[in-house]
Amino acid sequence: MKLNIWTLLFQIINFVVLLFILRRILYKPIREIIEKRRGIVAKTVEDAEKTKKEALELKEKQQEELKKFKEVQDRLLGQTREEALKERNKLLSEAKEDAVKIIEKEKALFDAEKKRIETELKTKCLEITSIFASNLLKDISDKELHMAVVRRFLKENEIMVSDVSKMKETAEALNIDLVTAYPFSMDDEKVVRGTLEARIAKKIKINTTIDETLIAGVRVKVGDTIYDASLAGRINAIALKLKETS
């Protein structure tokens, strides 16, 4: 075994030659293919990550939108509820007002009715009372009472006298319509005429009619004016006065 410098040299050259050839036909293509695949894998992973990220973002966005939507929904619901409540309250208050109005109206109607009935009742009462009084007076009435009432009229007839004195009557005799409850005797008529003429200081012409409904006393018509001095008239006057005062 000896060192052969040529063999050694050849082997080194062989190695270098092989190195360069293999670089070309083995290492380079294999490295390229491996790196290409790694690149693809990396890109795929990156794409996947990106897609995932995008998906997450999208999800987040969607959730946010959903949240917003819910908020809007809640707000709208709240508004609607509030409005509905307002409307309800308004309706309620209106209804209450209406009710009050209706009650007031009914009450007013009721009051009016009550008043009317009361008035009617009173009127009826007065009528009955006056009828009762009239009947009572009719029962106790007689010529004497009649004459007493007439005498009173003859004494207290200032109103008539003053009215007559104011009249510008040019006629010779004054026409007087006299309604009496009981027929006058001649004396009585004379007394009445005499007294009236003396009071008025004028000649008078008396037209006598009989009306028993007067109960007692007389009713005198001078011109257009009637002077009632009968008991019926007195009762009517009192009834009227009572009706007015109540």
């Binding site: 040529w6 050694l8 082997q11 293509p29 490295r31 491996i34 695949r37």
Partner: protein, 221 residues
């Protein structure tokens, strides 16, 4: 007994240049490697075929091994180291083919590879950290150890060459001796063992080179 000679012989000479059978066998091995590589890389695609997957697996194993040991980009040393591995591996196995001599059973061959490994260590060391930075690792941990560093540079290179040479030569010799003593078929188990040894030795040669390169770089970091 010419037929059993395990030592290299000069086949022909061109002037002062003697071409031995070692060199011729190496050429044959090279042709085989180039042919296989050529056909292996013809139809590479992103979706690998079964064959392509095997090749890629081999390269990825190389890449991982280098990554574990070297703090530099693996593809910087893969071509040189890969070629070393492939060439030594194929050469070691060449002796199994009848009529061929194992090229690595020739000290000249292993020494040539050891020289390549030696120069690679320094080239890569200088390339990665500069001449000054690379030389600084010789004074680690102290200047006193500088002579030992220098001695180690020489001895480990020689050891690299002799280790491969010794292993291969012994394998061949055992086969031949057994063949001479006992006869046919008996050396077969030893030949099978020799296959394993051949691959292991190729691996060891490459890994040691890797470790030497790493030794030249690591000191800085």
């Amino acid at each position: 007994m010419k037929i059993f000679n395990v030592f290299p012989e000069t086949i022909f000479s061109i002037g002062p240049v003697h071409i031995t059978d070692t060199v011729i066998t190496t050429w044959l091995v090279m042709i085989a490697i180039i042919t296989i590589s050529y056909f292996a890389t013809r139809k590479l695609s992103v979706k690998p075929s079964f064959f392509q997957e095997i090749i890629e697996a081999v390269f990825e194993a190389i890449e991982v091994t280098i990554k574990d040991i070297l703090p530099v980009e693996p593809w910087l040393v893969i071509p040189v180291l890969g070629t070393l591995w492939i060439l030594i591996g194929f050469s070691n196995l060449a002796g199994l083919i009848p009529g061929l001599k194992t090229p690595t059973a020739d000290l000249n061959t292993t020494f040539a590879f050891a020289l390549i490994s030696f120069s690679m260590t320094h080239v890569i060391g200088i390339a990665t950290q500069g001449l000054k930075g690379y030389l600084m690792h010789y004074k680690e941990p102290t200047w006193l150890l500088l002579p030992f560093h220098l001695i180690a540079e020489v001895t480990r290179t020689i050891a690299l060459a002799v280790r491969l040479f010794g292993n291969m030569l012994s394998g061949d010799m055992i086969t031949i001796i057994l063949l001479g003593i006992v006869g046919l078929l008996v050396p077969v188990p030893f030949s099978l063992l020799h296959i394993i040894i051949a691959l292991i030795q190729a691996y060891i040669f490459g890994v040691l080179t890797l470790v030497f390169i790493a030794g030249g770089i690591r000191t800085k970091s």
